[in-house]
Assembly symmetry: none
């Protein structure tokens, strides 16, 4: 698969449904450049960087992009992971480590087929990748709907960032080539009558509302346990893949539980 001249100054792929690639705190501009190249290979174009340590448009980044520098130039930079995903409906996080969290874990192939179905339903989707050495932290992982784990030699499963993007992107591309993969066994389709899946922004607003009230009522008073408790609670609602309507209902639930009628049986409970 040696290089061809076709790679120079290639057109950025125009598929508005293709997943965004979110690199969380990437360390080296060179790796970001190689990710841009892998994205071009897989017809992905929406690159988002959360707090990159180096300027991706540095000479090293541009050299590594090797023909994909157009894509690198359109990358958007965000301060926080949350800001980078607010406009997405589904986010899958690629991770090498199992966490002390309750999440669905998919291999890249079924994950890609799931993503294709979400996109066919008009949803905006994203793939999240962590920093080169440390990987995603637990707060980032808690923002994901599910995890992607690449099945490889368990004695040597570490991939560099661009290779991880390439393998997941490759499966995304293959899933677009296959039209006969419908009706497979993984995962039920999301059945809703009218309401659409909530945007991450709606979900984050709900989390903020809930956590503000939980701080206020004293549930989160243990400062040491607080971050873990928040992650656990967020995970429950992440996994439920809420609709817009459900988020509205949950806002009401929290508000009324906290600020509704006087508590008649305060002692009873």
């Amino acid at each position: 698969m040696a290089g061809t001249d076709r790679t120079r100054a290639a057109e950025i792929p125009q598929d508005p449904g293709a997943p965004a690639v979110i690199l969380v705190r990437p360390q080296l501009a060179e790796n970001v450049g190689m990710v841009a190249r892998a994205m071009m290979n897989c017809a992905l174009s929406d690159l988002r960087l959360v707090a990159p340590r180096e300027d991706p448009l540095s000479p090293k980044g541009l050299a590594a992009a090797s023909g994909a520098d157009g894509l690198l130039r359109t990358a958007r930079v965000f301060d926080t992971t949350e800001a980078a995903i607010v406009d997405l409906h589904r986010v899958m996080a690629t991770t090498a480590r199992r966490r002390d969290m309750t999440k669905i874990v998919l291999h890249p192939r079924p994950a890609a087929m799931q993503l294709r179905r979400f996109v066919a339903d008009g949803e905006q989707v994203g793939l999240m990748f962590g920093p080169e050495r440390a990987g995603l932290n637990n707060d980032d992982v808690a923002l994901a709907d599910c995890l992607i784990e690449v099945p490889l030699n368990p004695a040597f499963s570490s991939l560099n960032l661009a290779q991880a993007v390439l393998l997941v992107g490759y499966e995304w591309y293959q899933a677009g080539l296959q039209e006969t993969c419908e009706g497979e066994t993984f995962g039920a389709t999301f059945v809703t009558n009218a309401s659409r899946p909530a945007l991450k922004e709606d979900l984050l607003n709900f989390f903020n509302h809930l956590e503000r009230e939980l701080d206020d009522c004293g549930f989160l008073r243990n400062a040491e346990k607080r971050p873990g408790m928040i992650r656990n609670i967020r995970n429950v609602f992440d996994r439920a893949t809420l609709t817009e309507q459900e988020v509205r209902t949950l806002h009401g639930v929290v508000k009324e539980l906290r600020h509704g009628h006087d508590r008649q049986n305060r002692k009873a409970s």
Copy 2:
């Protein structure tokens, strides 16, 4: 997929049937090192080099191998492509260009499944890759039983050498998993470390607790809408497939929201 310490000094995979990887006239030691690493990822161990331009055991080669240097040290060097493949029954050549030759061209997935079948029949198989820039020449290609072409964005299909090895090796590895994963949910697993999935009894107790408090605070006061609202709320938690621990946490959330500290900002909301 950031690095884990597992990658250091990893054992060389011992699968005598796994395909040999034949690099024909590779130019840079660094690329050979990265190929060794990709092979380790995919549990491939038989690396063969035809007339490499640089010493693969140079510092740059070893650094790029990054934990796969054991495999690099066992690589065998040959003067000609013929000499490198004499002991094999089948050879597939990976190429980005169509040739003026009549050959079967396979995508990596069916190619990998074919290879698994050949190996199950006791055959020795190999995967051939050309030099970084020029690719395989026609004489090399003529030695192959068939060609592998990786379907990628046609406007940007060039892969570097290690990425090409990784994608084909990845499919080989996946094809080996298929047998054991068939009929499952394609690798979808539920990661919980300590806590078990909640019993339905636990879930129903939580629903009763929540709905009692929602009645009490007035959220469910509309008698006509009440059954539908309850169903919607239950659905959220049903979909999340809660663990025992999460049910306990949610009991706490509801109790404290309703009966925690005095509501300081009752008017504010």
